[in-house]
């Protein structure tokens, strides 16, 4: 029996340390308050840790041609202000998110819907503020037309693509106020909204139509530094925090084993190759680089073995991921690497690895540079940029003169998400750093149209990658958390975020 059941007793409360700035909680804008948004809102569909799709707010999401979709909502759902959730609310919300003048940060998630480009013209004001691909059928049903066939659409509607969440009519009156205290359709209602430096509190929404959450109250305490949150968890002042990267080596000493959770996430890191630099034109150069890096040693020395060396171009959590497709090229073999490079004619000049400074990547890329220097005999150095802004600008302008940091954390676990972002010209990702590879794009389009559920179809795309080796996969990232004694069990969904609704608290 969990302590949650007694209505009379002290409410079961979970205190979460959050170390990301929360400028705005509108689901179409938030970019680092996933835990909160996923507790306050309920998604149309949900992917569990095994990649199994289920329906939450939606009764069904169906299509015959993967282009025209019909979404049917469950009856009896209400927003926290009591108004019923209707198809119109979804359409209004999505239109608001997609409408360029609103400048919502997550609007890119809606780019698949027909008419998105009309709301986001290259120049000037849009002529319309409604997505042509959306039509309301009745209170609980609406139709969605996509730009092109996309079998992954139901998956795209899952929990982490928060742009697809509905907002109540009252939200549109004052989106700024709504951004501080959002009203959602989820199991928890925000009772204390956002104020600079103060905790945000959400309490169980009594009229929630979905599954009962296991706790009564969630409190997010803001920390300016992850490390502090971690230390406070150590002192037992906060129940759940994300493990900071530079404590990965330390955590085993600080916390008992069952207080450390490592969830595989849909994220992967790469060493991207500047396709604009002719020194890297020979595929053997790129393969040599990959083989010269000892991923296992790095994982052990820098990540406390919490990540996993990548063996493909998408993480293994993705359904149908072709694990090991990278083969020998993702395995450490310094001699072979040196040979391969020699065959390719060696490497001229300095090899500078670029990465965004101030974000804690220094050790990783210094290690990579050391390997390249020692195993390939090239003059390799790792060089941080001033910050993210500089890095992204230099990357987009193609002025980086060496391999560079790249990473993609997908919002829904589908190979399609990562591959599309990294290797195609699809809208929504203009600067993901990988080269645009027509073969991959073609393969993706085919898979999208195929309607395959298991993701096998997308593995085909990765065969082209293995052949052309445009970019070096490094690590599948896991999302790591530590908890206080108060938490007995923590589970996560397919997106790596812990499920706050399902946390099991220890009995006193």
């Amino acid at each position: 029996e969990s302590g949650v059941d007694e209505g009379e007793g002290a409410p079961a409360e979970l205190v979460i340390g959050s170390s990301d700035p929360v400028p705005n909680l509108v689901p179409g804008r938030q970019s680092n308050a996933f835990g909160l948004t996923m507790s306050v809102f309920s998604p149309l569909t949900f992917l569990d840790a095994d990649g199994e799709l289920s329906y939450v707010a939606a009764e069904s999401v169906e299509s015959d041609d993967q282009i025209h979709w019909t979404i049917t909502l469950r009856d009896g759902w209400t927003f926290h202000d009591g108004t019923p959730v209707t198809a119109q609310d979804y359409v209004d919300s999505w239109n608001t998110v997609a409408y360029a003048p609103n400048a919502f940060e997550n609007s890119g998630q809606l780019a698949v819907i027909a008419g998105y480009s009309d709301l986001n013209p290259a120049e000037g004001e849009p002529a319309t503020d409604e997505l042509s691909g959306l039509t309301v059928v009745d209170d609980l049903t609406f139709n969605v037309t996509l730009n092109q066939a996309d079998s992954q659409f139901p998956v795209e509607l899952s929990q982490a693509q928060t742009a697809f969440y509905p907002m109540p009519p009252s939200a549109f009156d004052d989106l700024d106020a709504y951004g501080k205290q959002p009203i959602g359709n989820g199991p928890f209602a925000v009772t204390t909204g956002w104020t600079e430096g103060e905790p945000i509190v959400a309490e169980r929404y009594q009229d929630y139509a979905g599954d009962e959450p296991a706790v009564d109250k969630l409190t997010w305490v803001p920390y300016s530094d992850r490390l502090t949150a971690y230390t406070d968890a150590l002192a037992g002042n906060v129940d759940l925090v994300r493990l900071p990267a530079n404590r990965m080596m330390q955590v085993a000493d600080d916390f008992e084993d069952d207080h450390v959770y490592s969830f595989s996430g849909p994220a992967i890191s790469y060493l991207s190759i500047p396709y604009w630099d002719p020194r890297f034109d020979d595929v053997r150069v790129r393969q040599a680089i990959s083989m010269a890096i000892d991923r296992d040693a790095i994982n052990e020395a820098l990540f406390g073995n919490l990540n996993a060396p990548a063996t493909a171009w998408t993480p293994s959590i993705m359904p149908g991921n072709p694990d090991g497709i990278c083969g020998e090229y993702c395995e450490y073999d310094p001699e072979a690497a040196a040979e391969l490079l020699a065959e390719a004619g060696g490497f001229e000049g300095q090899l500078t690895i670029h990465f965004p400074g101030g974000a804690g990547h220094d050790d990783l890329f210094n290690a990579v540079a050391n390997y390249l220097r020692q195993n390939l005999g090239v003059d390799a150095v790792a060089r941080p940029s001033v910050g993210w802004a500089e890095f992204s600008e230099d990357r987009n302008n193609e002025v980086l003169d060496g391999p560079f940091f790249a990473r993609w954390g997908a919002l829904y676990p589908s190979q399609q998400s990562t591959l599309r972002a990294m290797f195609t010209s699809a809208p929504g990702c203009t600067n993901c750093g990988g080269a645009i590879i027509p073969d991959v794009e073609q393969a993706l389009n085919d898979a999208d149209a195929s309607g395959s559920e298991d993701g096998e179809a997308y593995a085909e795309a990765q065969r082209h990658l293995a052949e052309q080796f445009p970019i070096v996969p490094l690590f599948e990232e896991s999302y790591n958390f530590v908890t206080s004694d108060k938490v007995a069990e923590l589970t996560a969904s397919a997106v790596g975020e812990p499920l706050l609704t399902d946390v099991i608290l220890a009995e006193d």
């Binding site: 330390q250 790095i298 060089r383």
Partner: protein, 298 residues
Amino acid sequence: MTEPATVALDGALDRATTRGLWATLRTRVQFWVSVVLLALLAIVAAIPGPLAGIFGEGDPRACDLAESNRPPVPGHLFGTDVQGCDVLANVLSGTRTSLFIGLATTAICLVVAVALGTLAGYAGGWVDALIARTADVVLGFPFLLGAIIVLNTAPNRSPLLLAAVLAFFSWPTFARLIRSSVKEVREREFVQAAHVLGLSRARVVLTHVLPNSLAPTLAIAATMVGGVIGAEATLTFLGVGLVPPSISWGVQLSTAQSYFQSAPHTVVFPSIFLTVTVISLIMLGDALRDALDPRGRT
């Protein structure tokens, strides 16, 4: 009455008066200790590799990640850092850059501060206002912002440039100190006496005002060296500091910070070198100050 009534004494007193800076310094233990320490550091700065080689690994960039953060053992007397590089070799190799940045920054800063502080304190009026307000602005101007802009636009980020940037943001403290001492000293009678001798202002300032105003500044200048070496690490952390293959204590310290609980030796050894450097500089400064101040000499 013209017969001399007294005869000037040539007593034991006078032997003690054959003195000079050197004669005074020579007798100070403090002076010799600091000189020896600094000489050692200078040797280290000149030939770090061979020196480190004596104790084990000589190449600071020969790293084995499998040996990451190992505690000191024979062969790696100071242990290894997170990349599995020899800490000893790194600390020794970092000496040159760190010393250079620490000293060059302090030197540049002092030159600027002495010039402007004296000018402000001595000239007064609008010159003072201009310099003092400029100092206020520099003090209030976010260091980070300035450093990023300058270091990022500069074509090559040499240690000298770094030192110049650091100095640019530290001179106001010293300038204010000097300004206030100068304001006090310029009112003293011997300064007036010097004016009355018809000496040019510049000469009065250089030979009488300044030497009598520098003490407070010199007292904290040496402690500044340590701060500068740390500040250099901050810049590196932000991506505008020195870039590899430059090696510095600051960079080592900032890298080691993440692991100081599991691998304390990676913090301890660079810190020791830093401490020794600063302390020897302070001791040298003290000895010089005492020797330069006649009242401390007797």
